[in-house]
């Protein structure tokens, strides 16, 4: 914006434009290709995949999907797990964030540093003992079992603590002079003020839960408990026979669609949540 607006259209401007367009094509090509495949009968694809480039197209694969695929079941599972995890993270992080930011208790600052340390512990590093623990507790292949590990990440607590700390103390004090109890200060006054952070954290958590492949793959081994992400992966086993290529792609498109639609509408918030989550 700044540099570009000062100089008129030059050759380098055009080169940049071309480069961006080429990259843009690379971005959408796989999706368009998959979409094309999904609109073709398997018989036709067997003969020649370049038939994707011309009619006839058919919704047969999507119809097959609707009548005979467990993908709906997976959707329900994903929904339960993602919503459960999102709500859980919001509740736990808000409580803990308020606690760390505003209350005093023995060892508070040390505990907070220990919690921050959790940001540096990747899930993969604790997977073996965690898996054993869940086996002993009989939590594999349960919704609780799929949700719980997501609640242990420090990121939400860190974010909410920072956010609560940024609210001026004067606000708490005004509320205390207004006879609010400590819980009322939290619940009626401060918590509503953290709404933007709640949105960021909620979106971030939901997206992560929805797209998570690692833990559901390890814990939800029963096909009845597959999330969409794991379910789609499970169908890729028979990938080699391109007999099912069109159907597979229909499944991929079908699974991608809801999240892409949500993305189109909430792009601003999703971008903020994902970028905020990284730094």
């Amino acid at each position: 914006m700044a540099a570009g607006s000062m100089v008129g259209r030059t050759l380098s401007d055009r080169l940049i434009l071309v480069a961006v367009i080429v990259l843009g094509i690379v971005m959408v090509a796989p999706i368009v290709w998959a979409l094309g495949l999904s609109l073709k009968t398997n018989a036709e694809l067997m003969v020649d995949t370049s038939s994707v480039l011309h009619a006839p197209y058919t919704l047969q694969n999507y119809w097959d999907l609707v009548i005979g695929s467990p993908v709906f079941r997976w959707f329900v599972n994903s929904m339960i797990v993602s919503l459960g995890m999102t709500i859980g993270v919001l509740v736990l992080s808000s409580l803990a964030g308020y606690g760390f930011a505003r209350l005093e208790f023995p060892g508070r600052d040390i505990i907070f540093v220990l919690v921050l340390f959790g940001l540096a512990v990747p899930e993969q590093a604790v997977i073996i003992p965690r898996h054993q623990l869940f086996s002993e507790l009989g939590l594999h292949n349960t919704y609780i079992g799929l949700i719980l590990p997501g609640l242990s990440t420090s990121f939400g607590v860190f974010l909410m603590t920072q956010y609560f700390r940024a609210i001026p103390r004067e606000v708490d004090e005004a509320a205390m002079l207004d006879n609010a109890t400590r819980f009322q200060v939290f619940w009626r006054v401060l918590l509503p003020m953290t709404l933007p952070a709640q949105a960021t954290l909620g979106i971030y958590t939901f997206l992560h839960a929805w797209n998570d492949y690692w833990w559901p793959l390890i814990s939800g081994t029963n096909a009845q408990m597959y999330t969409v992400t794991v379910g789609i992966a499970s169908t890729q086993i028979n990938f080699a026979e391109s007999a099912g290529l069109g159907f597979l792609m229909a499944q991929a498109i079908f699974a991608a669609l809801p999240i892409l639609i949500v993305y189109v509408f909430f792009q601003k918030y999703i971008v903020r949540a994902v970028s905020g989550g990284a730094t």
């Binding site: 700044a2 998959a34 995949t49 993969q124 970028s275």
Partner: protein
């Protein structure tokens, strides 16, 4: 992530925070409980486990550091280390440079730029399984997108995913496609932070466009560049789904990363002591990167 600054703002000890008492702990207790049970305990129990020969059914023999010495002699494991580093070299600089380029090109207020930003970020919201599905039909020799294009020019198809030299690069391309949104957005955010006066001053100094880019824009986002590199190293270190779904680590272990090794040793071979030991090595490596990130992020003021 200004962890250090956060402490300062809170030094005011007042009644409003309520005196130090145990009931205050109730607010943090639910999270702490889960954190201790699901992070702290597994972390230490994993370290302990890594000193044992153990299988899933509870057989445990203390073997000291034997798992680690075995790992360091294990060709497959060393191969996964190499693959992981190679993968990082393939992806991280590309992500940073393409991300920066896109950010510079799309840092305008036009509608087209906004749409393109949306397009480049869109792949980031997809799950790894969808991404790999999309890219496998690009790479497969039998009806894949590239094969079809080659065929139109009368060329034979290339089997990217079953070629030892091409498998990991193909995964890297898939990953760059999948992850490009984040570095672009981080750079865009950093570019927005560059004070407009700097550009105005540069214009008054008759700095040309490239000169401005070189001596105003890039120096202003140096810290972000370092941050992006480290964040991406941490992320790409954890490569798993793409390799597991596209190549299963093959051919001949050519695309097997550390995490896939841990997964297979732990959950296919059930050699959990050995897997735990490999996990400790992964943890140590990521910890170093995370510490680097912490220190870069802390030096916020210095750009």
């Amino acid at each position: 992530m200004s962890v250090a600054a956060a402490h300062v703002t809170d030094s005011r000890e007042t009644r409003s925070g309520a005196r130090g008492d145990w009931s205050s702990l109730l607010y943090v207790a639910p999270f702490l409980l889960i954190y201790i049970v699901l992070v702290v305990y597994p972390l230490f129990s994993g370290m302990w486990l890594s000193l044992h020969k153990a299988d899933f059914f509870g057989e445990r023999v203390f073997v000291g550091l034997e798992n680690f010495t075995r790992l360091l002699a294990d060709k497959v494991f060393l191969g996964t280390l190499w693959n992981t580093f190679y993968f990082i070299v393939l992806t991280v600089p590309a992500l940073a440079i393409i991300g920066l380029g896109l950010a510079l090109a799309l840092n305008r207020t036009t509608r087209a730029a906004a749409v393109l930003r949306g397009v480049f970020f869109s792949s980031s919201v997809l799950s790894v399984t969808i991404v790999t599905l999309l890219w496998r039909v690009v790479f497969i020799p039998d009806g894949g997108f590239i094969a079809t294009v080659l065929e139109m020019f009368g060329k034979p198809p290339v089997a990217f995913l079953s070629d030892e030299d091409l498998a990991l690069p193909a995964i890297a391309i898939t990953t760059i496609w999948w992850c490009i949104g984040l570095p672009m957005m981080l750079f865009l955010a950093a570019l927005q932070q560059v004070p407009k006066e700097l550009y105005e001053a540069a214009a008054l100094d008759n700095a040309g466009r490239w000169k401005t880019l070189w001596s105003v824009t890039l120096p202003s986002i140096r810290r972000t560049f370092a941050l992006v590199i480290i964040i991406e190293i941490v992320l790409q270190f954890q490569l798993f789904g793409q390799a597991q779904l596209m190549t299963l680590g093959g051919p001949n272990n050519a695309s097997r990363p550390i995490v896939l090794f841990i997964y297979e040793v732990g959950f296919n071979r059930w050699d959990i002591g050995y897997a735990a030991a490999a996990a400790q090595i992964l943890f140590g490596l990521i910890l170093m990167a995370a510490l680097a990130q912490y220190f870069v992020a802390r030096r916020k003021g210095e750009a």
